[in-house]
């Protein structure tokens, strides 16, 4: 495509549109998680090639998101879906896995210069760890540096507000939209 003279920015724009369509198809369950991951990886590979033609040597990203499942929690399907949707939406995503301590969230956010910290808890006994992340960011004086979004089975909008998070999403499509709003709000 590049050899044929296609403008890389235009091509990136088309890929971004495709990513949105893929996300929508996943949201309608016309495709499933593994398809979403494969498509997302293909898109990222395409973005890398096109991005190398851009000033700065990489495709523009909407923002950087640090995502993980909290300490003591092994559930990561939902988190993986969200990470993939965010990648497909144009975010640079740093996935730090599951069973992640609140301190590790903070350290990884700083190390990767993230704008958003996204944390998931799937059990009522691990949900308190979401509060720990927010409290730790506050106590270490860096709370204002990040937008914090939370999710997972027992988590609610009310709980997110109670702990001082910036947003909550009930599912992956909601999470991608929320991340886009949060990064615009900064």
């Amino acid at each position: 495509m590049l050899e044929k003279g296609v403008d890389p920015l235009e091509a990136i724009s088309k890929l971004t549109e495709t990513a949105r369509e893929i996300g929508d198809r996943y949201g309608r369950y016309e495709i499933f998680l593994a398809d979403l991951i494969a498509a997302s990886e293909a898109l990222m590979a395409g973005m890398k090639v096109l991005g190398s033609e851009m000033p700065g040597g990489e495709a523009p990203k909407i923002g950087k998101v640090l995502i993980g499942t909290v300490k003591g929690d092994i559930h990561e399907i939902g988190k993986n879906v969200v990470a993939t949707m965010l990648t497909a939406s144009g975010f640079q995503v740093y996935d730090i896995g599951y069973d992640v301590a609140h301190t590790a969230f903070a350290e990884a956010a700083e190390r990767n210069d993230a704008q958003i910290v996204a944390a998931s808890a799937l059990m009522s006994t691990t949900m308190p760890m979401l509060r720990e992340i927010v409290d730790y960011l506050k106590a270490t004086g860096v709370r204002e540096s990040y937008k914090v979004m939370v999710g997972g089975g027992p988590v609610t909008n009310e709980y997110a507000r109670e702990i001082g998070a910036d947003g909550y999403a009930p599912d992956a499509s909601g999470a991608a939209k929320l991340a886009q709003e949060l990064v615009t709000r900064r």
């Binding site: 369950y29 499933f32 998680l33 593994a34 991951i37 494969a38 300490k71 003591g72 929690d73 092994i74 399907i77 939902g78 879906v81 059990m123 009522s124 006994t125 691990t126 308190p128 760890m129 720990e132 999710g151 997972g152 089975g153 027992p154 988590v155 009930p170 599912d171 992956a172």
Partner: protein, 457 residues
């Protein structure tokens, strides 16, 4: 068991992403196509035995061709067909839980088995308040159909929030067991077995194995693999610990619909593959097939059309081909004191009876809402399971489809009725259901009887 668990240290190394995307997913898609497995909303209870044979064989192939991944060692654990078949042949097919007069027997059931199944019910992992946990357990212990109590998860201890990995977690679990034992004693059923919640820290699981203050050898423990087709050191250590302690376990194959297992077809095959693999690895007493539906996030359940189909097919296939003692059901989308919760339960119980599985749960509201669980849900599980014993699959299918049609659209809206907490639908002094809940219950009973069920009241 040890010989098998050693494979977590000796198998070939593979990255988790490669296991998922290059080994598991492609093979699963091939098997769905090769065996022509198709979700059939007209047969939520399968009546065509060739479907059962195909799904079972596809599940066996998936296990043998893909194996399990130990994510802590990044090593493949592969299995031979002969050893899987030997493990299945050696299943006892029968056993007891609990003590003395309160001991109950679980036995392998055939399809359309005429024998009444044994009910395992309780809060089912639902978060519990300190204020009402004891009363909630009493509400289950009072229900004569309940053969084993499935524990809930205390949220606070002396006002402090219970966090996984903190000392509060062990304190909560010891207190939790004490509440449940007190409830069973008050109900005159001191030997009733308790089934511990899934997913506590490994240290708490091990520390709470105690005949004095924790789980006795006559109780039951939870042991699930990780999705999909994975284990970790904690799971393997848990399995070894339960074997050394001498307590029976319940384990589960969980193909997540909407997750890596894809649609209901992939989830069914994956669930069977996992059930076969964990039978070999863990030598469990009870086995659940739980193709949980992730599509209606944040709620998860298995009473919706896709999950119910996959669950029925998996249970029927495994009951036809093995001596497993299978459990059916786990969560409902709706909450207590709603008609929908009771319809969902009834659908699960009827389907379960028809395919030869014992009733399990439910955890209303996907087991996620504080104190949203009561003994009335267990009562309906038992009444329907009794009434539907021996039901023909064709008849079960017609009733189940009618029940599902009552709530499927609500599930798809992702806004199931929240229902009421224990304190809102029970008299907390006498631990009896409120007039409102009794009326809701009676209405659903009458509707079920109109559908042809002769309920044992």
């Amino acid at each position: 068991m040890w010989d098998l668990l050693r494979r977590a240290e000796t198998g070939a190394i593979i990255k988790q992403r490669d296991f998922d995307m290059k080994r598991y997913w492609p093979r699963l898609k091939e098997l769905v196509k090769e065996y022509d497995i198709k979700y059939d909303p007209e047969h939520l209870v399968p009546i065509d035995d060739s479907v059962l044979d195909d799904v079972y064989e596809a599940g066996m192939r998936l296990l043998l061709d893909v194996g399990f991944l130990c994510i802590d060692s990044s090593r493949l654990m592969t299995f031979e067909e002969s050893e899987v078949k030997a493990a299945l042949r050696n299943l006892p097919g029968k056993g007891t839980l609990g003590e003395g007069k309160d001991a109950v027997t679980f036995e392998h059931h055939d399809l359309e088995d005429k024998r009444t199944p044994t009910v395992l019910s309780g809060p089912t992992g639902t978060p519990l308040s300190e204020q009402y946990a004891l009363k909630i357990y009493e509400s289950y212990a009072k229900e004569p159909f309940v053969g084993v109590i499935y524990m809930g998860a205390p949220q606070t201890i002396e006002g402090l929030t219970v966090k996984v990995g903190s000392p509060l977690e062990l304190q909560a679990e010891v207190t939790n067991v004490a509440w449940a034992r007190s409830a069973t004693r008050k109900a005159g059923r001191p030997g009733l077995a308790l089934y511990g919640v899934c997913f506590p820290s490994l240290s708490v699981d091990m520390a709470s194995s105690s005949p004095e203050y924790g789980y006795r050898k006559e109780d039951l423990r939870c042991l699930w693999p990780l999705p999909q087709m994975k284990v970790d050191y904690a799971t393997l250590t848990r399995a070894l610990h339960f074997a050394h302690y001498g307590i029976k376990s319940n384990t589960a194959g969980v193909g997540y619909i909407g997750g890596m297992a894809g649609g209901p077809e992939g989830a069914a095959i994956t669930t069977i593959a996992e059930c076969l693999g964990i039978t070999l690895l863990f030598r469990p007493f009870l086995i659940q097939s739980i193709p949980l539906n992730n599509m209606y996030s944040p709620w998860v359940g298995e009473s919706d059309s896709m999950s119910l189909w996959a669950n029925s097919v998996c249970n029927a296939a495994m009951n036809k081909h093995t001596k497993m003692i299978l459990m059916f059901g786990c969560y409902t989308y709706a909450g207590p004191c709603t008609e929908m919760c009771l319809w969902e339960e009834a659908a699960e119980s009827i389907a379960g009876d028809a395919v030869g599985a014992h009733p399990y749960g439910p955890g209303p509201n996907s087991g996620l809402v504080l104190d949203h669980c009561t003994g009335m849900e267990a009562r309906l599980r038992g009444e329907v399971a009794c009434a539907a014993a021996g039901i023909k699959r064709e008849d079960a299918n017609e009733i189940v489809k009618k029940l599902v049609s009552k709530y499927q659209k609500v599930v798809e809206s992702k806004k199931p009725p929240r229902g009421k907490s224990f304190a809102e639908c029970y008299d907390t002094e006498t631990v009896t259901p409120s007039k409102e809940y009794s009326a809701v219950y009676a209405k659903v009973q009458a509707e079920l009887e109109d559908l042809g069920l002769k309920l044992v009241r």
